[in-house]
């Protein structure tokens, strides 16, 4: 199935596309036309072997080999794109733009899926997964460092925004952390209170659910007026950077969005604690505070971390939108690119955001496995 999609992609769509300049849309160029014949043949060969392996009876060793092959295929596809772009660039005028085409993305996606699938079937633990990710990341960085991708327009966009990129990436991470951190600090005590007094749960969840349903841009807009008023009324706050636009409303909105999953999961976690355990804890003379922090919260931790994982991934995406109100972050490139009709600039914002989301997901998944160790 995967293989069929991959093959259709190779034959039916352009691996790369070339345009006379940044603004015009490009003309597609197929995989075999674009790349060195040997690279194209290599990609086809590995894909064929992977197909045969997927038909063979499952065995751990075989799945490991398949994972290694899929990893190699990923690198080969990326390398081939760089290589082909460089070849095209020598024959093209200096203003020409060479972008990654639909064929590249579909091939890349199928290879990545094949890798994830093989790792899962091989029963790879988080240590092995980290090793695979690190290897692929380092290899890609090494290729980038050697200038392999220089001819691709994505790299050109990066070059022209290089000074801004690091700042935007850091700002994006800061926005997410500034959203998740306070949401945990507010959400966990809220959840503990709600778990103690079930009557509070109805109204609390009604409010939090309502907040979730407000579209992000609308929430940014709603916060604009009161914060602008607050900043003009209290100059000290304005001096601290609080205003109708900028990071302050963005962070507030992100916190509000993050509250529901954190509160809901923590309440569910506390409600799931065996009543006999609570009876025993009280019967042995734990105070209410000791019961909460030594028994209920640790036992709710696996669910709490699961909530944190959902929230973090969600906020990485929402923080992109925050660029609209001047909060900065990777969204800056996305909206700038959209405004200039420059797809590669959009990608310069979107790809690292996807990477961040995946990284956060992976990190918190590992943390969740640690938190659930004793059950």
């Amino acid at each position: 199935m995967l293989f069929a999609v991959g093959a259709a992609a190779v034959l039916g769509t352009g691996f790369l596309s070339i345009a006379p300049n940044r603004l015009l849309s490009g003309r597609p160029i197929g995989l075999f036309a674009a790349t060195d014949l040997r690279l194209g043949a290599g990609i086809g060969l590995i894909a064929g072997v992977l197909l045969l392996m997927s038909l063979a009876p499952p065995a751990r060793g075989l799945q490991r080999a398949a994972a290694a092959l899929a990893g190699g295929l990923l690198l080969l596809i990326v390398g081939a794109a760089g290589n082909a772009a460089a070849a095209l660039a020598t024959a093209a005028p200096p203003l020409a733009r060479i972008s990654l085409g639909a064929g590249f993305w579909i091939l890349f996606g199928t290879a990545a899926l094949a890798l994830v699938d093989a790792l899962q079937r091989a029963g790879a633990g988080s240590a092995e997964r980290s090793a695979v990710i690190a290897t692929l990341g380092l290899a890609s960085l090494a290729m980038a460092h050697c200038g392999l991708f220089d001819a691709l327009s994505l790299a050109r966009e990066y070059r022209s925004h290089e000074d801004l990129f690091a700042t935007a990436l850091v700002r994006h991470i800061v926005l997410v952390v500034a959203g998740v951190g306070p949401a945990v600090l507010i959400g966990v005590p809220l959840a503990i209170t709600a778990a103690r007094q079930p009557r509070l749960q109805g109204p609390l969840f009604a409010v939090l659910n309502l907040l979730q349903t407000i579209p992000s841009i609308a929430l940014f807009g709603l916060l604009l007026v009161p914060l602008a008023a607050l900043a003009s009324a209290v100059p000290m706050l304005a001096a601290l950077g609080v205003g109708g636009i900028g990071p302050a409303p963005a962070v507030i909105a992100l916190i509000l969005y993050a509250l529901l999953p954190i509160v809901r999961n923590t309440v569910a976690g506390i409600a799931g604690v065996d009543p006999a355990v609570i009876d025993a804890a009280r019967g042995m003379g734990m105070t209410r505070r000791q019961l909460i922090w030594r028994v209920e919260v640790p036992l709710a931790l696996p669910l709490l971390v699961a909530g944190l994982r959902i929230v973090t991934v969600q906020l990485v995406g929402l923080a992109v939108v925050a660029a609209l109100i001047g909060a900065g972050g990777l969204g800056t490139f996305v909206f700038e690119g959209l405004g200039q009709y420059a797809a590669d600039l959009v990608l310069l914002g979107a790809l690292p955001a996807i990477g961040l989301a995946l990284a956060a997901d992976f990190l918190l998944q590992t943390l969740a496995a640690v938190a659930a160790r004793h059950d």
């Binding site: 006999a276 804890a281 009280r282 019967g283 042995m284 003379g285 105070t287 036992l299 059950d375």
Partner: protein, 307 residues
Amino acid sequence: MIEIDSVSKAYDGRRVVDELSLTIPEGSFCVLLGPSGCGKSTTLRMINRLVAFDSGTIRVGGEDVRRVAPEQLRRRIGYAIQSTGLFPHWRVEDNIATVPRLLDWPRARVQDRVSELLELLHLDPATYRAKYPHQLSGGEQQRVGVARALAADPELLLMDEPFAAVDPVTRAVLQTEIVRIQRATKKTIVFVTHDIEEALILASDIAILERGHLAQWGTPLDLLERPASAFVGEFVGGGSSGLKLLSLRTVADRLRPGETAAGEPVPMDTSLRDAFAQMAARHSDRLPVSDAAGRPLGTVTLADLVR
């Protein structure tokens, strides 16, 4: 000593404990016995104030339990329950150390106490200290539960049907253990069960409760021989109170000293019930009896059993 003085507790207007008065002497193994809904668990949980009573007073060691902060009170009273309530995220060691740590014992003293208790409960400290509750069998979990209840050397132990959820063989072993521990430590134990057989094995005193009242207080023998009401007679004996009586007495009580009889002698602490079973198996109305060292003491006859 625990003095329960005309204590009442109502849920939604229905009195589950009704003007109950009961004095449990120091060092007693007291079983609260009765059918479900008779108020025995509620009574137990009022002693450590897990249930707040509406009226009356309860004194433990002469002190009114309502004059002590509930947490302080509970740390002085051991507590073990049916489903053990072990903390799943803590190792056996941490579970047992719960109350000593709440009381801020020094680390070394806690360590020693944990080892001592694991040995008392016949669990090898080296093997069991670092295990998590889910790695233990039901019987082992219950042993850890009892060890945890004993950890801070409480003056009093409350046990709410602690052995109800384990298999019959394990239950019999645990019953023997808790009797041994009670004899060795001389602790006062209040033990809730609905199982009359268990009560007869464990108790030095039994309080039978009926709809929140004390129906009868006495030794197991008192209850079987002189039930105070038809309810007690029915609950304790059912159709076989005679056999239960036989199981409470030993052949030493009915010995004919100096007489001799043929066959393998039975030890003097054999229950009359087992002696009766031996006679039936041997087709004999007379058994020789020996002491613990195997020296002949005398005989016991079929007629003596039903005397």
